[in-house]
């Protein structure tokens, strides 16, 4: 929640990133799409402007930033303003919970994963998409102290994310990775591969 200020001030600039890094965005979207399937009730935590929830057909979104939510709402997503550590949703309400490039801005990742598990039905899926701190892009972002979004971000390795997931009671099923080069140099969407360790963007698929 302490990380809301840059998003409030720069929601348009944030959304513009997706335009200027279009192929990186498409690659991330495709990696997440392969794990999403067709859930009936799905929630994106840290929905932002709805850049993922919209095209993936995810009907519910939560975010603390009002400016971002207003954009997501205009994209037809049912939005609630709130925080990941205290979700205002009932137990077992969802078939799928998604967090994309969100954990780096969350104060208490462990609490947010416990909350994700609580709002998922038994056997429901939890997808975490993030920039691997040990990847090419991860290392570059860590050095970008003057970027208003990433200066306050905490990047995690795949091992750290898996540890948090297992502590919250999830079983990890699958890893997908993409973005193997520099995101601004791409002239087409990147391939999606199983596993992790090569791509900068990783999706961890877990089950409640």
């Amino acid at each position: 929640m302490v990380h809301v200020a840059p998003f409030e001030a720069l929601s348009k600039r944030y959304d513009a990133w997706f335009e200027s890094h279009f192929y990186a965005y498409l690659s991330e979207l495709e990696a997440v799409r392969r794990c999403v399937g067709s859930p009936q009730l799905a929630l994106e935590v840290g929905v932002g402007t709805g850049r993922f929830a919209g095209p993936l057909g995810i009907s519910f979104g939560i975010d603390p930033s009002l400016k971002m939510l207003e954009v997501a709402h205009s994209r037809g997503i049912n939005v609630v303003r709130g925080v990941a550590e205290r979700l205002p949703f009932r137990d077992s309400a969802f078939d799928l919970v998604l967090m994309v490039t969100t954990i780096c801005f969350i104060d208490d990742v462990e609490a947010s994963f416990r909350e994700a598990r609580r709002v998922l039905r038994s056997g429901g899926r939890f997808l975490v998409g993030f920039i691997d701190s040990e990847s090419l892009l991860g290392k570059r972002l860590k050095a970008m102290k003057d970027n208003p979004f990433y200066a306050e971000a905490t990047l995690y390795s795949v091992k750290e994310v898996v540890d948090y997931l297992e502590r919250a009671g999830f079983s990890v099923h699958e890893f997908l990775q993409t973005i193997f080069g520099s995101p601004e140099d791409l002239s087409a969407p990147e391939p999606i591969k199983q596993g992790f360790g090569e791509g900068s963007f990783v999706v961890v698929c877990a089950e409640a």
């Binding site: 929640m1 009730l41 603390p64 009002l66 939510l69 207003e70 709402h73 049912n78 939005v79 609630v80 303003r81 709130g82 925080v83 205290r86 979700l87 205002p88 949703f89 009932r90 309400a93």
Partner: protein
């Protein structure tokens, strides 16, 4: 927000599922302005321009005051207090 959203919401603080809804402005099935009331801990959560705000107390700021001033005359018998954000129902409508 759509009215049916209430069926999956709960109080983010006390975890109670029994929430009440007072609508102020409705457009078709969309609640544009309204307030969500937690029957257990007596917290209130504003719906502003179709977006329900369900933040923990420590993150609630200026919107609360503006909202309470704007809607106070439209919520018969309900008083919205700011710090802490609790509501009171007057005895004659209880």
């Amino acid at each position: 927000m759509k009215q049916w959203l209430l069926d999956i919401l709960q109080c983010p603080i006390c975890r109670n599922d029994k929430l009440s809804l007072k609508t102020i402005e409705v457009n078709g099935d969309e609640i544009v302005w309204g307030v969500i009331l937690c029957d257990a801990c007596k917290r209130w959560f504003p719906i502003i321009n179709s977006i329900p705000h369900m933040l923990p107390d420590e993150f609630r700021k200026n919107e609360d005051k503006e909202f309470a001033e704007r809607v106070s005359k439209l919520l018969e018998g309900i008083t919205l207090e700011l710090r802490p954000p609790r509501y009171k129902i007057s005895d004659d409508i209880r």
